[in-house]
Symmetry: C2
Subunit: 109 residues, 2 copies
DNA sequence: CATTTATATAAGCAATGGCTTATATATTGA
DNA sequence: TCAATATATAAGCCATTGCTTATATAAATG
């Protein structure tokens, strides 16, 4: 799998709002079981299951089985292809980058 | 248009490899006419035209008419929604971010 | 073992997407 | 005004996508 293909996979996976919402919820909650994600979701259990599979296939989340439950968390390197690609376009978002840089430094202290 | 919708638009637009290639070429060449993009493209003129429209609608490129030619360049703020969104997930790509930070500093000097 | 709970898979459907060919609309210049 | 060039739009086609309902699998528990 080439870098371009991985990037395409990440972009396509995050492009769907419902699926991105699932990802964001996993990120926010740290670790969630699939059931938890179904509750409070607009779509059905199979739909959530399909989205989780897509997120996993794209390398964006990791699953950990615990009995009947499967817990999901964000994969640390999942956003890597996206970040790397954006790195090539620094000149086009340098200003915002400065903001992030400042933010990071504030967070450190 | 909400921030989430803009992000969806940017992600969907960049998710197609052919269209992303067009964007990358515009970024690389600085300013290109549509004809220039058609030459050396795998797809037809209408296809390129459709991709350019999508890129423009997503706010990723800007067009400048000059006689019969329309020149495209990357819109500085186009990647903004993506960068902003990624900002919320710093913890998941902090390491790569450090690399970028280092790279930026090297570039400055 | 039987039932309940958690998740995945199958099948089908309507909508979307990206491409093509054909044609329309500028814009320029002879 | 006519022909050539540059780009856009229209229409149609096929593949993909996201959803649904129905069903299958897996694991825990009585």
């Amino acid at each position: 799998m080439t870098a371009a293909m991985q990037l395409t996979s990440v972009l396509k996976t995050l492009a769907d709002p419902t699926r991105r919402a699932v990802f964001e919820r996993i990120a926010r909650e740290g670790e969630v079981a699939a059931t938890g994600l179904v509750h409070g979701s607009k779509v059905s259990q199979p739909a959530v299951s399909q989205h989780l599979r897509a997120l996993r296939d794209a390398g964006l989340v990791i699953e950990r089985r615990e009995g009947r439950h499967i817990h999901y968390r964000v994969a640390p390197k999942g956003l890597g292809p996206l970040v790397d690609w954006l790195g090539h376009y620094q000149t086009f978002w340098a200003e915002r980058f400065e903001n992030l840089e400042r933010l990071l430094k504030e967070t450190e202290s």
